[in-house]
């Protein structure tokens, strides 16, 4: 699926929740399906430091698409990562570079990507974009 299609699918999924706690219950569930980075790869260079929670990110270029693996010490952060990776992982680098992330706003999770939150998620998105940029036209 294309990035935009996946984003729309996520927006639809979140549309059914009008209670915040239900929404977070779902996010926590999503965290359990995250493509985890291997423990051995959780080295300092894969660590994205946030003020509140820590995030690890690894990537692999395979058959023209970028695959991502990640983890976090906080479950909610993990759930949101899982959403981001569902959008980005397995996509062509050039599509990742140009993708926008409006869907995060639309499902009401923008606070987690605000620059002042410092929970590592915004830095993770930047890192994903950077990795994609490095792999364009390779």
């Amino acid at each position: 699926m294309k990035i935009e299609e996946i984003e729309n699918e996520i927006i639809d999924e979140f549309g059914v929740y009008d209670d915040w706690m239900d929404k977070y219950e779902y996010i926590i569930e999503l965290g359990k399906d995250l493509d985890l980075i291997q423990e051995a790869n959780k080295t300092d260079d894969k660590l994205i430091k946030g003020c509140q929670s820590r995030v690890w990110l690894d990537s692999e270029m395979k058959d023209g698409v970028l695959k991502f693996y990640a983890d976090s010490d906080a479950i909610i952060t993990k759930g949101i990562i899982s959403l981001l990776l569902r959008v980005f992982s397995g996509q062509k680098p050039e599509d990742i570079v140009t993708a926008d992330l409006d869907f995060i706003d639309k499902i009401g999770l923008q606070e987690h990507l605000s620059p002042t939150r410092a929970n590592g998620l915004l830095s993770m998105v930047k890192q994903i974009k950077l990795l994609a940029l490095q792999n364009v036209e390779k």
């Binding site: 706690m21 977070y24 003020c51 509140q52 929670s53 906080a74 909610i76 952060t77």
Partner: protein
């Protein structure tokens, strides 16, 4: 003296009536900043509507009005702390600014071989300025360690003080643990070796009475915003002779006696340390905040806050997997805890979505977190306007969060 009744008092604080995410707000982040009573909000408005002018420099009517109000505020704060002279009260931007002012002065006075003594419990703003002062001067920074209860370990107290100790900086109350430190003892020890001592009062004055003369403390600092006053206001109390010794921090208008191209002579206290146009409205409204707070019997408020703390602690202990961080014998109404197997960020987020405002993380006390081997806590800090019903809501919300995270 005003009789304390929590339901009446809550009406003084307009923000407490608001909702977040469609839920009634339970504000348990008073350690970070306190809410403001309507009188303080009105005082700021009145200044800008009717009295705004720069102070200490105009011949015109409004400038004189503003100057008088600002200086009246200084006198109120003098009375509140029981300082001997009003010029011992320096207006600053807050605790951090006050500490930097003093530490900067010491960075000019300290020499290699001199020692600065702090503690493992300090807020970063009472660590970093001293580390900087040591870096600039070549002095050494030492510290008094913690014990498992979250108190200062004073078993070896005498070993920390010696004739090289020039300045000691200790918090009166720990912001992340709630511990009240026996500062009388530390002041005595500091003075015995001829050192000056600064006490960080950011977390104390909103909970109990402080008398700087009775304590015989050299410097006492606090922030207005944690004391129901405006942000960007703070106080440095300093004994006159201690302030006289200290070189000025910032140069500029107001702090000078005479400026020539060949050099400058400095103004007298308190102006020597008050360069530039200050937060005039804030300084004036800080008086309103203190008058408001001081209209109660503070011991009555303290007793009520202790009841809240005891209730919250006994309720939270009924839950499984909770560990309270900070179990000092003497504590203010701060409840810091960790949850087995759950990250503080997750707990805080799920509480927030249920209308409960707490703080999570290291609370600017990373050495405290390192000591306990954790990366952060969830902290509920109570003010006198909080209620047992709010604690019940908090416990319910916490239970729900724990179920979801379990």
């Amino acid at each position: 003296m005003r009789k304390f009744d929590v339901n009446t008092v809550r009406k003084d604080f307009p923000l407490l009536a608001r909702q977040v995410y469609g839920k009634p707000l339970v504000y348990f982040d008073n350690g970070a900043t306190a809410q403001k009573p309507q009188v303080v909000i009105d005082r700021i408005n009145q200044f800008y509507k009717e009295e705004n002018a720069n102070i200490h420099r105009g011949v015109h009517h409004l400038s004189q009005v503003g100057t008088d109000l600002y200086e009246e505020s200084r006198k109120t704060i003098q009375g509140f702390l029981n300082a001997k002279f009003s010029e011992e009260i320096i207006f600053t931007k807050g605790t951090t600014d006050s500490i930097n002012l003093v530490a900067f002065g010491y960075s000019k006075m300290l020499k290699p071989g001199d020692e600065v003594l702090i503690t493992e419990m300090e807020h970063h703003s009472n660590i970093v300025p001293w580390q900087m002062a040591c870096e600039y001067s070549g002095a050494t920074c030492k510290y008094i360690p913690l014990n498992e209860k979250g108190e200062l370990d004073l078993s070896q107290i005498d070993s920390h003080f010696n004739s090289n100790t020039k300045v000691v900086a200790v918090t009166h109350v720990s912001n992340s643990l709630g511990t009240i430190n026996p500062i009388e003892k530390l002041i005595e020890k500091a003075h015995k070796v001829g050192a000056r001592i600064l006490i960080d009062g950011a977390q104390s004055l909103q909970h109990f009475k402080v008398d700087v003369q009775a304590l015989d403390v050299d410097f006492y600092v606090f922030s207005g915003h944690k004391l129901f006053g405006p942000t960007g206001t703070g106080i440095l109390y300093g004994k006159k002779e201690a302030l006289d010794q200290l070189p000025p921090y910032q140069g500029g208008g107001d702090m000078i006696k005479e400026v020539k191209m060949s050099g400058t002579t400095y103004n007298e206290l308190p102006h020597k340390f008050e360069a530039g146009t200050p937060n005039i409205a804030g300084g004036i409204a800080l008086k309103t905040a203190i008058d408001y707070f001081d209209s109660f019997d503070i011991q009555e408020l303290q007793k009520y806050e202790q009841e809240l703390l005891e209730y919250a602690e006994s309720e939270i202990k009924k839950l499984e997997g909770i560990r309270i961080i900070g179990e000092a014998d003497e504590k203010v109404s701060v409840l810091s805890f960790v949850v087995d197997g759950a990250h503080h960020f997750d707990v805080g987020t799920l509480l927030d979505k249920q209308g409960i405002a707490v703080r999570t993380g290291h609370h600017c006390t990373q050495p405290v977190m390192d000591y306990f081997g954790i990366n952060g806590t969830v902290r509920a800090s109570f003010a006198f306007y909080n209620t047992k019903e709010e604690i019940d809501q908090f416990i319910q919300a916490l239970k729900r969060a724990l179920t979801m995270l379990g």
